[in-house]
């Protein structure tokens, strides 16, 4: 017998008659066989030669068991846990809504029949991620927010994960829209990032819902409504304003980093 495996003689003797072997040897061998597939293969190869009756019985049992084993193998379809470790379970309808809204805005822009000089897509783009971020982290929209708030993962990392998941949908959607209407990428991307970061940064003070409402109201009042009323693009969305948006995005991101440990964002106060 080698130091690692049982010798063929021992296995063969065991097969002929376990009673003839010393009890401690049988015990040690069986213990080894349980954990060693190589020796089990030796055993079954020898058994085919020495004891065909046992092997045919074993084959019968396997034939009977196999259908049942394959049946239990097909477990019910599972929602992938990986997806929801990024996107909040409540955001899916909101993300679909965002896709629809940006598609319609793009369509109107391309047709240019109703909008004239202005680009609806550019006017709406900064609002879209704000909506989705709110949906991902608003106690009013997330039924499980109360238990989520008491878990260790509730905190800035989870908020950022959910924001990234939102942007992963919003950015490609707007990319297609921007390509169709011929807008520059930076023209919608920078305002988008600025409003998203500002929502989260203000959210650490007021809570995300209030921050999102305030920012959306501000956007609608200062930019969206005047632009629609006067039918021309506001200065803020012209290419010359891009450095300002970049600065705002950087400022809001810095504010968010500074306030990353404050809990206000994470405490749904109903």
């Amino acid at each position: 017998m080698t130091s690692e495996h049982a010798s063929p003689q021992l296995i063969s003797a065991y097969l002929r008659s376990p009673q003839a072997l010393a009890t401690d040897k049988v015990w040690a061998l069986e213990g080894h066989l349980e954990g060693c597939p190589t020796c089990r293969d030796h055993l079954s190869a020898l058994a085919r030669v020495q004891d065909p009756a046992v092997m045919s019985l074993l084959d019968d049992v396997w034939a009977g068991l196999e259908p049942q084993l394959t049946a239990t193998a097909s477990a019910p379809r599972r929602r992938s846990a990986g997806l929801f470790s990024w996107a909040a379970p409540t955001t899916v309808p909101w993300l679909l809504a965002i896709i629809v809204v940006s598609f319609l805005a793009t369509l109107l822009d391309v047709l240019q029949s109703l909008t004239g000089d202005i680009s609806l897509l550019l006017l709406l783009a900064p609002l879209l991620p704000v909506l989705a971020v709110t949906a991902a982290w608003s106690p009013a929209l997330d039924p499980a927010s109360e238990i989520t708030a008491a878990t260790p993962r509730a905190g800035m990392p989870l908020v950022l994960r959910r924001t990234v998941a939102t942007l992963a949908v919003v950015v490609p959607t707007l990319l297609i829209g921007g390509w169709a209407t011929g807008a520059m990428v930076a023209q919608w991307l920078l305002p988008c990032l600025a409003t998203t970061a500002a929502t989260l940064a203000l959210g650490t003070v007021w809570g995300v819902t209030r921050a999102a409402l305030a920012l959306s109201g501000l956007w609608a009042g200062v930019i969206l409504v005047p632009a629609l009323a006067m039918s021309h693009m506001p200065l803020a969305l012209r290419p010359s304003a891009l450095p300002v948006w970049a600065a705002l995005a950087a400022l809001a991101t810095m504010a968010l980093i500074v306030r990353r440990n404050t809990g206000a964002l994470l405490h749904p106060q109903r």
Binding site: P76, R79, A81, S85, E146, P152, R153, N261
Partner: protein, 268 residues
């Protein structure tokens, strides 16, 4: 399968009480719903009794680290709980079932409890086993792959209990867990509580005095945000006299203590 006892399980605990509050105040909106209470709770099942609006839910939400204390100090498992600092260590050891248990209707029971286990930072390898154990403990193993929206109210409540248990918490906070359970389920729930009492600090808020009599090692009576009584169910029984209202000794003790506190506007 081999299971090992982790170092954290063998380490001696460095705190005297699982929950230790000194002068704790918590606001609910503008109101001070918990008003400067001193509370020390160790392992065991602690029944939190009190009339509606006494501040039970606010206290439990503060213990669950959802609400921040407005005053005083709160130590849980030896860690200070408050505005600053890292609450992850405490939160990992908490199980919480809120009064209004919100859930995702399209998730199956298993998916939901798995999601909660992920949020509670249960190690990825242990999640399937922990979820199965939690679901079996509340007797929902045969419904584990059904969607939440197909469950009855009592079953949803039991999923709530399962998600609270999934991380083997050392502090378990249950806000009105027996609402919606039928009498047989309530009995089984009490058995579950008793089985947890040796190792876990369980805080159960309820207004059913018989729940307390059957399953609790300790009673905390709460009125108008203040602690009226803390002791064993026996001690509470001893307080009630024959002239007090109630069908059982415990009921009489309860009403004797509440009658002696000042009544405020809004009580019935």
């Amino acid at each position: 399968m081999k299971t090992f006892v982790g170092a954290s399980e063998l380490a001696p605990k460095t705190y005297a009480w699982e929950i230790d509050a000194k002068g704790l105040s918590v606001r609910a909106g503008r109101r001070r719903a918990v008003d400067g209470i001193d509370l020390r709770l160790g392992t065991g099942v602690h029944g939190l009794l009190g009339p509606n609006g006494a501040g039970k839910t606010t206290l439990i939400r503060a213990l669950a680290t959802v609400l921040r204390p407005a005053g005083g100090s709160l130590h849980m498992l030896g860690h200070a709980v408050g505005d600053a600092g890292d609450q992850r260590a405490v939160r990992r050891a908490i199980g919480y079932l809120p009064q209004e248990f919100g859930y995702y209707r399209r998730f199956t029971v298993r998916e939901f409890v798995e999601y909660m286990a992920w949020l509670k930072e249960v190690p990825k390898k242990e999640i399937p086993g922990a979820v199965q154990r939690a679901v079996e403990r509340v007797g929902l193993a045969d419904r584990a792959d059904d969607r939440m929206k197909s469950l009855s109210g009592g079953m949803v409540r039991r999923v709530g209990i399962a998600q609270a248990l999934v991380n083997d918490p050392r502090i378990l906070l249950l806000d009105e867990p027996t609402v919606g359970l039928d009498p047989a389920q309530r009995l089984r729930f009490r058995e579950l509580l008793k089985s947890l009492a040796d190792e876990t600090c369980v805080v159960v808020s309820t207004h059913l005095v018989e729940d307390v009599a059957a399953a609790c090692t300790d009673v905390i009576l709460f009125a108008d945000g203040r602690l009226v009584f803390q002791g064993t169910p026996r001690e509470l029984e001893a307080i009630g006299g024959p002239e007090d209202i109630g069908g059982s000794p415990l009921d009489r003790g309860y009403s004797a203590l509440l009658a002696s506190t000042d009544r405020e506007a809004g009580t019935w």
